[in-house]
């Protein structure tokens, strides 16, 4: 069973073995409004925790998406290219964005659990 972790920049990551699947939180999707475009990285790209990994656009906003953990891109959710609205419908499930080969499990200690993230949201 994979655990979900969150970043301050509203990305989430679900880890299972050395696979780390990432996306943006429901909160972020809601704040952005209707998503019009998702820019995903190339397979094979190596990212570091907190580095820009992807980008997302809505009608009224544009935002970078930061890698919640370091790793190498092994898969991207290309369904989002034609159906960016999936992010609004199911940001934390169906609209996963990038699967990374996890580089360092210790990095998860820098992230928040779901409870911690929900508490964090209240402070914003």
């Amino acid at each position: 069973m994979s655990e979900i972790y969150f970043t301050k920049e509203h990305e989430w990551v679900k880890v299972s073995g050395n696979s780390a699947v990432c996306g943006i939180s429901d909160h972020a999707a809601h704040e952005l409004g209707d998503i019009t475009f998702v820019e995903l990285p190339a397979i094979g790209k190596v990212v570091k925790q907190e580095e820009v990994m992807a980008a997302i656009e809505s009608v009224k906003a544009a935002s970078d998406i930061y890698a919640p953990v370091s790793g190498k891109v092994v898969k991207v959710n290309s369904e989002l290219e034609d159906a960016p609205e999936k992010v609004n419908e199911s940001a934390e499930e169906e609209a996963w964005m990038v699967e990374l080969e996890l580089a360092d499990a210790a990095e998860l200690a820098n992230l928040m659990t779901k409870e911690q993230y929900e508490a964090y949201l209240k402070t914003l």
């Binding site: 019009t36 475009f37 656009e57 809505s58 009608v59 009224k60 906003a61 544009a62």
Partner: protein
């Protein structure tokens, strides 16, 4: 305080307003400004009535020779402008409106810009267009930047036959970017395909060409798109819109991006501005396109309407990561362009293009008869062509200018070794009589 131009308040109203605010003078409202920052000088002339002002402008206008016989182009062309263009674009609802950020009360501007975008797509044979850029020269620079973003590369190769003025603007735009600009010297007034082949590599973002080029030549660019694409680069063509009445479109050539200056479509010469730049591209590049874009949609009742769209590209959302810093488009000038195209019409533009060519070919043939005058023949031409004179072109042009004829653009200041060369422009507005006068005056000038 006296009521002056366009400040409507009576002294009584001002007192009422000050009382409502709770201050006793307008000066008090400027109190937040520290006294030491207040300006001690403000030197401007005394104001005038509208009538004296207009008389002054008439005097300024009269202090120019506005009736030269124009055989010059350089990107700006003396074309007919139907009277309807002035009247329709002069409607206050169009020209005193602003950017259509509130679409419900701006469907006039929005639909007009959508129709404009459509006209540009059809003229250029490409999929998407924006709502206009500042002008053709800055448009070329924006196209280069667009290609660099699309390919993630930094080298831009530009044909030296592209207008030198546009190339200067391009160089200025790229000067502080991580970019390498390579200019290919013209080869007999044409693109040097061998040199281009040498410059196409894994870092080339774009190849930039123009047609008709600065010498007036219309080259056969078939195969050029393939050549660029094979190296992973984009083909950008700068084009003269009136010529597109008959010339192969950038889309048919396989170009990825097309740009140009829209002045020749319904905008007066007006000493160089305002004008507008048009830019069109293949659909895949729409997210990288700079400037405003109007899109079609429906409202909550299913009625068709138009809105500014893909605003996430622009500076007011992306700020320093925007596709460009551009804010204004040249809305009214683009509107004039659209009305021009609508007034001239589908067949009309083709006829206008042919008329330009007829006039220029006549002038070319007559000039070719003059002893010592050689016409550059390496490519067919549209309404501009290059001639080589037996003496320096600048001196000849000066002589003809004294006679009220702007005979052409001397190339010496742009191309080393071209001091005897002149680009002559002939539009539909030059009568046979004027052309004959040009030939006669040139003949005289060359004899002396």
């Amino acid at each position: 305080m006296n009521t002056s131009h366009y400040c409507p308040h009576t002294p009584e109203e001002i007192q009422e307003m000050l009382a409502a605010i709770g201050v006793s003078s307008v000066e008090e409202l400027f109190a937040p400004i520290p006294a030491e920052l207040r300006c001690s000088t403000f030197n401007l002339p005394v104001g005038m009535s509208e009538f004296e002002t207009y008389a002054k402008l008439q005097a300024v206008a009269a202090d120019n020779n506005q009736s030269l016989s124009l055989f010059i182009g350089g990107g700006f062309y003396d074309h007919v402008i139907p009277a309807a263009v002035d009247h329709l674009s002069g409607r206050a609802e169009f020209y005193t409106a602003y950017t259509p950020y509130q679409p419900e009360c701006s469907q006039g501007t929005l639909q007009a810009l959508f129709e404009y975008q459509t006209a540009i797509c059809r003229l250029t044979g490409l999929d998407v267009s924006n709502a206009s850029l500042y002008d053709g020269a800055t448009g070329l620079a924006e196209a280069a930047l667009m290609a660099m973003r699309a390919t993630n590369r930094t080298k831009v190769v530009v044909d030296g036959c592209v207008s030198p003025i546009a190339r200067q603007v391009l160089a200025t735009y790229l000067s502080n970017q991580d970019a390498e600009l390579v200019e290919l010297p013209p080869l007999d007034g044409l693109l040097n395909r061998d040199e281009l082949a040498k410059q196409l590599d894994g870092n080339t973002a774009a190849v930039l060409v123009q047609y008709p080029n600065v010498f007036g030549g219309v080259e056969d660019f078939s195969g050029l798109a393939d050549q660029a694409h094979a190296a992973g680069a984009l083909l950008v063509t700068a084009v003269y819109p009136v010529a597109l009445g008959i010339l192969k479109s950038p889309g048919e050539l396989g170009a990825d991006i097309a740009v140009g200056d829209g002045q020749s479509l319904g905008n007066p010469l007006s000493f160089g501005g305002p004008s507008f730049g048009f830019i069109a591209a293949k659909k895949a590049h729409i997210r990288n396109m700079p400037g405003r874009i109007v899109g079609e949609t429906v409202d909550k009742n299913g009625k068709r309407g138009f809105v500014l769209t893909l605003q996430a590209r622009e500076q007011h959302i992306k700020r320093h990561k925007a596709t460009s810093n551009i804010c204004s488009n040249q809305s009214l000038c683009a509107l004039r362009g659209l009305i021009f195209l609508a007034a001239i019409g589908k067949q009309g533009l083709a006829d206008l293009a042919r008329l330009n060519r007829d006039k220029a070919e006549y002038a070319k043939a007559r000039l070719a008869e003059l002893p010592g005058v050689v016409v550059l023949q390496t490519a067919p031409t549209f309404n501009e062509f290059t001639i080589s004179l037996p003496k320096p072109a600048e001196a000849v042009v000066a002589t003809l200018l004294d006679k009220g004829i702007a005979a052409g653009m001397p190339l010496g200041r742009f191309y080393a070794g071209s001091e005897n060369m002149l680009v002559v422009t002939v539009t539909e507005k030059r009568s046979k009589k004027e052309i004959d006068q040009l030939v006669k005056a040139l003949e005289v000038a060359l004899c002396n």
